[in-house]
Structures are given as C-alpha cells and as structure tokens.
C-alpha cells in the first residue's frame, strides 16, 4: 500500500490551485452538473417514464466522465450495458406495469421529508469528509490507463478467477429470471383476445 501511495500523485498541500482549472476539469464540471441535475430530476419527477429517460442522461453523462478519466473501455461498457440494456429493461418494466402518460400520484411514498433529511445528511457528511481528505490530491491523466488492450491484459492476467465467478453468477441470474417469469402449468395462460402483459422472453446478457 505504501508503494502504491508513493506512486500516486503529489500529496503536498496546495500543489494545484482550484482557481485555474484545466480544460478537462472545466468539461468534467459541466458534465458533472448535467449528470447531477439529471439524477435529481430522475428521482423527483412524478412522470415514471420521464424518470427513466432522465436516468439515461445521467448514465450517459457518467460515460463521458469515464472518458475524461481516460477509462475508455469502461465508458463503452457503460454505454453498452446501461444505456443499451438496463435502461431498456427498466422502460420495458415501466411499460408492462402500465406507466401512465402524465403524472402518477403514487410515485412517491409518504416518507419524502425523512428521505430528504437522510439524503442531505449523507451528502453533507460525505462531502465534508471527501473534501477534507482529498482536497490537495491531483490525478495525473497523462498516459492512457484504460484502453482496450490494457483492460484485456489486466482482466485476463490478474482477474481471471473473479471473471469466471461472474460468469457463473450471470448464468444463475439468467436461470433465475427464466424461472421467475415462466407462467406455471397453464393456470395463468393468457386467454385469446386478452392483452398479454407477461414478457415473452427474459432478456439477459
């Protein structure tokens, strides 16, 4: 750990000024504001499908942030998995549970004030902690750290076992989803002329 820290960026105080941001920092901040705003709208809006679409903006913005942090491969995986699959699944779920157009009155539960208090408290605590701890840390972004070649090398040289374990987990999730979404023995078979609300196939990857 000490070698890791020694290899990291300079830790001395006030190594860099916050008042003269680099170009990357400016872009990062602007995209960050967009991500945060989209996330806030996503958890507060009462239109269900709009919430999912704002989540698309937030997660897409995060992919841009990953690109800015030179983690290129992670960024594309984020786009592929989150925007291409997770959000589509979420929208699928919202539509199958009859998300109405317009506001739905039951989107929020009664404990919004408590939730707001907890959220603000956690934000205040963690921001104080993080700012205090990493005020003077500087990320050196020179030298690409996350190209596909680098990712492939570390993933298949150091992380093979977790990778394989993950494939087993995915298989389990696949089977679980199939089992869950099967209709059992004709009891719940859709009648002719009735709109079928069950998904035809579970989609997994």
């Amino acid at each position: 750990m000490s070698t890791l820290l020694a290899a990291a960026g300079p830790l001395e105080p006030a190594a860099r000024s916050y008042l003269s941001p680099t170009g990357q920092e400016v872009v990062f901040l602007l995209v960050g504001v967009l991500v945060l705003g989209a996330a806030v709208v996503s958890v507060t809006t009462r239109r269900l499908v709009h919430a999912a679409l704002w989540l698309v903006v937030a997660l897409g913005g995060l992919a841009v942030e990953f690109l800015l942090l030179t983690a290129e491969f992670v960024a594309w995986v984020q786009v592929l998995v989150y925007l291409g699959s997770v959000i589509v699944l979420v929208l699928f779920g919202l539509m199958l549970t009859r998300a109405p157009i317009g506001r739905s009155p039951d989107a929020d539960s009664g404990n919004r004030p408590a939730a707001l208090a907890v959220g603000l408290a956690s934000a205040a605590t963690l921001v104080t902690l993080v700012v205090d701890a990493f005020r003077s840390s500087w990320i050196d972004l020179s030298g690409a750290a996350g190209t596909t070649r680098v990712t492939g090398e570390y993933l298949f040289s150091h992380w093979v076992l977790p990778f394989e374990a993950l494939s087993v987990l995915l298989l389990a999730a696949l089977i679980g989803a199939i089992v869950l979404s099967r209709t059992q023995g004709g009891r719940a078979r859709p009648r002719a002329g009735k709109l079928r609300t069950a998904p035809t196939k579970p989609k997994e990857r």
Binding site: R47, V49, H50, L53, V56, E72, F73, W76, V77, V79, L80, L83, G84, S85, I87, V88, L89, L91, F92, M95, L96, A99, I101, G102, T147, T148, P199, T200, K201, K203, R205
Partner: protein
C-alpha cells in the same frame, strides 16, 4: 490532427449520412419494382424518376406535424432524433479507405459501434410509449424485445472477428484481413448480417411494424417530417449495417488497386450488401413474433457460439 482536418472529416461524414441513405431508398424503389415486374417511380426528375425521394422529402416537409392530444409531447417530439443520431455517430467511425480514410479513429471501434447502435432502441420505445396508442405501445415492446434478443448474437459474431484480428479497432481489423477469412468467418458473417437485419426491423423481421397486425408499430402516430426522420434512420441503418458487415467480414477496402480505389471497394461491397437487404424484402414473408424470438435464441446464438469456438481453435492452431 488539426482543426480543419477534423472539420472536413465531420462534414464528409455528414454528407455521406445525408446522401447514402437516399441512394439506398431510391434503389429500394427501383429494385423492388423491377423484381415485381413493375417500373417504379418514372416521372419525378425526368430520368427514371431519380428525384423521387427528393419529391417525397418535399412532401413530408409540407405535411402538418401532428402530435396526438393524449401524447406526451416532449418525448414524442424527441423520439425521432434519438432514433436517428446513433447511426450518425456510428457512421463517423466506419473506415472507408486505407491510411485514415475514416471520420474518427476510435480505439475500441467495434465496441463503440455496437454500444451506440444499442441506444437507438430507446427512440422506438420513446415513440411507442409517448404516442398514447395501444398499437404503438405494442410495437415499441416488440421492437425492444427484438433488439435486445438480436444484440447478443450480433455482439458474439463481432467478437469472433475481433478475436481473429487480435484487435477491436475497425481499421485494424481491415488491415489484418486475408482472403481466407471469408470462408473462415462465414457463419459469423451470416449471424451478424441476419441479426443486423432484425435490429433494423427489415423484412422478414419486421414484426414491430407489421401493418396487418399493429398498423405501423411505434411509428403509427407520426406524420410529416418526424415520420421522414424515422424512415431516414431505417435507411441509414441499412447503410451502417452493410458498411459494418463489409468492413468486418468482407475486407473493407481490400481488392484490386486498393491503394487508389480502396474507398470505391468499400462502397461497392456496401451497396452489394444493401442490394441483398432489398432482395430479401421482396423474397421472404414476415416471420411470426414467437418464431422470431425462437430464431434468435435457438439458431443464431448457438451458431455464433460455434463460430466463436471455431475462430478460437483455428487461431490457436495457426499461431
């Protein structure tokens, strides 16, 4: 790479994005007509109706843009852009010729292409839900299910090529191409092309827009320019799919005189494949929804996995 160069590449991509889909659309009119023993458009523009699509465009622009009363206006109006823009981004990274004849080199080319193409499905989902129409919603759900199912074999087939080439960069793959890759990757090419057809909802995989069942699927309520944008995204999708297939499986710019005429080879291969797409539309009837799903999960995915295994074995054998 200076600013002028970047600008020039972007403008070039934009021009290609605006011209090539129209060429495919016009070809669809004429090819379909001749295969069915008709002449197709003959009047617009004079010579064999070459300006038919321009006339169509003018007509679409003149039409009123109707938003249904019960619709979610913003989402409804935004949906065509979400459906169209991913194809523009993808076109930016497809290489057409050697020595950097590409809009923008992306290190993880295949990955970028497939990731961004996956975003296009959001457009159809948004359109179908926001239309406040039962048939639109059904069409959107069918689209989403179809695209999610067919993305998997497409990714696996593309992974096989990436494995063969040892890189995921699109120009890198074309550079590594040899002629014997064509028989080697034949199954992969079939899977990729078929899955791509399904992603574009082209016949015989056009259940999401099956007019005899659900009118026009997610696009039922659209009129005028917005409808034209959806049509344009379909044709742009054909260009992108055929371009990708020719780059990944048919060697892109490789051919006689490739140093001078490499870009022409890419275009020729792309349009030959586009012709096949139109041909399939005229030839085959539409599949049923459950047949479509079964085809993806029981035929294409096992085939793609077999191709992946074959690629691995041969790759190990020759290295």
């Amino acid at each position: 790479m200076n600013l002028l160069d970047t600008l020039l590449r972007c403008v070039g991509t934009l021009v290609a994005f605006l011209v090539l889909p129209l060429v495919v659309g016009q070809a669809e009119h004429k090819v379909m007509a001749h295969m069915q023993g008709r002449l197709g458009p003959m009047y617009a523009g004079g010579f064999h109706g070459w300006a038919q699509l321009v006339a169509d465009g003018v007509k679409f622009v003149q039409k009123e843009n109707i938003v249904p009363a019960g619709a979610d206006r913003k989402v409804f109006q935004l949906a065509p852009a979400v459906a169209l823009l991913p194809y523009l981004l993808v076109l930016l990274v497809i290489p057409v010729g050697p020595d950097g004849m590409v809009g923008q080199v992306v290190d993880a080319g295949i990955f970028f292409v497939l990731a961004v193409m996956g975003v296009g499905v959001l457009g159809a989902l948004m359109a179908g839900w926001a239309s406040a129409n039962k048939f639109s919603l059904l069409g959107a759900l069918r689209t989403a299910a179809q695209l999610m199912s067919y993305e998997l074999p497409m990714l696996l087939a593309a992974a096989s090529v990436a494995m063969a080439a040892g890189t995921v960069s699109l120009p890198g793959i074309v550079d590594a191409f040899h002629w014997w890759w064509v028989p080697w990757q034949l199954i992969g090419a079939f899977v990729f092309f078929t899955a791509g057809l399904a992603e574009l909802q082209r016949p015989p995989f056009d259940m999401p827009v099956a007019d005899s069942e659900i009118i026009f699927g997610a696009y039922t309520e659209y009129t005028g320019l917005r409808f034209a944008l959806f049509l344009l995204s379909e044709y742009a999708g054909i260009v992108v799919l055929c371009g990708l297939t020719s780059v990944l499986f048919l060697g892109g710019w490789h051919g006689p005189l490739e140093d001078d005429l490499g870009w022409l080879w890419t275009l020729v291969k792309t349009f030959a494949l586009a012709f096949v797409v139109l041909w399939l539309r005229v030839t085959y009837p539409r599949l049923r929804e459950d047949q479509l799903m079964r085809f993806a999960w029981t035929v294409l995915i096992p085939l793609a996995l077999a191709q992946l295994a074959l690629t691995g074995i041969i790759k190990v054998a020759i290295s």
